[in-house]
């Protein structure tokens, strides 16, 4: 899953360790999310969204943006 985490972090001039401290997770967790090797759980995604003052779908992109199920 693509995400804007690295950009958002860079805009605030935060290191991975600083972001990890703010989220209360390990630096490895931040790195794994940024590089797309790990998709965060819903609670962590909400925490990220609150920290950056954005909606989850503005940070994460599952590649289906703009597509709606047709039933």
């Amino acid at each position: 899953m693509n995400n804007q985490l690295k950009v958002l972090r860079a805009m605030r001039n935060w290191s991975q360790a600083e972001l990890a401290d703010r989220l209360d997770v390990s630096r490895q967790a931040v790195n794994a999310i940024e590089t797309g090797k790990y998709d965060p759980s819903l609670p962590l995604a909400f925490k990220l969204a609150r920290l950056f003052g954005m909606r989850i779908e503005e940070i994460f992109d599952d590649g289906h943006e703009g597509r709606h199920d047709e039933h």
Binding site: D21, A32, R50
Partner: protein, 212 residues
């Protein structure tokens, strides 16, 4: 935009991270000290002298290492106070697990059976066996409860995959070994090699998903 959550945290930039060399050196020094006691015991046995009880060396080493670690934490108290309760408990659980594993390994290594003591099947006194069993069950249970309550999302994921790999590393070879033994094609099934294989598989997969 900085939200309430962000403002509630202490600004990490205001905290100076202490050198990580000190705890590494403390760990190495503790291991070296315990190794010195083990070497003394081995030499004593070889010369026909009385050896120290196997638990003396590891406990003295861990006590000195513990004091050194406490002094290090005290010296950098501001840094450690900036940690969240979750992070503090997480590191306490890891340190406790490491200390327990270290003491258990050193007690076995310090036995009269010599340098192959750690993986040996040699006889053990009931006192040492009961103490090691109690330490493993009670100590590890406490450390694991702390660990599982404090581990973050990403590490839990790595832990689960590692646990699965460890499970498969037991489930596949164990029955194969057993049926081969029944056909007289293999020696009797032993628990410790399977335990070791399971642990190694667990560690490889865990570290891969945690640090890749």
């Amino acid at each position: 935009m900085v939200t309430k959550d962000a403002m509630m945290n202490i600004d990490p930039k205001s905290q100076r991270r202490p050198s990580m060399w000190a705890p590494v050196l403390i760990g190495l020094g503790t291991a070296a000290l315990a190794g010195g006691f083990a070497g003394y015991n081995q030499a004593a046995v070889e010369h026909g002298d009385a050896a120290l009880a196997p638990w003396v060396g590891p406990l003295v080493a861990i006590a000195i290492g513990g004091i050194a670690l406490a002094l290090y934490v005290r010296r950098h108290a501001d840094w450690f106070r900036s940690w969240s309760p979750r992070k503090r408990l997480y590191w306490i659980s890891l340190t406790l697990s490491g200390a327990l594993g270290f003491v258990a390994a050193m007690v076995m290594q310090s036995g009269p059976q010599g340098s192959d003591g750690l993986f040996s099947n040699a006889a053990m006194t009931p006192t040492v066996a009961i103490a090691l069993s109690a330490m493993s069950v009670i100590g590890l249970a406490i450390a694991l409860v702390l660990y599982h309550r404090t581990v973050d999302d990403h590490e839990r994921h790595a832990y689960h995959l590692g646990a699965l790999a460890g499970f498969y590393a037991f489930v596949f070879p164990c029955p194969v070994w057993w049926v081969l033994w029944r056909a007289d094609l293999a020696p009797p099934v032993e628990a410790m090699p399977l335990f070791g294989l399971s642990l190694v598989a667990n560690m490889i997969v865990y570290f891969w998903f945690k640090f890749r």
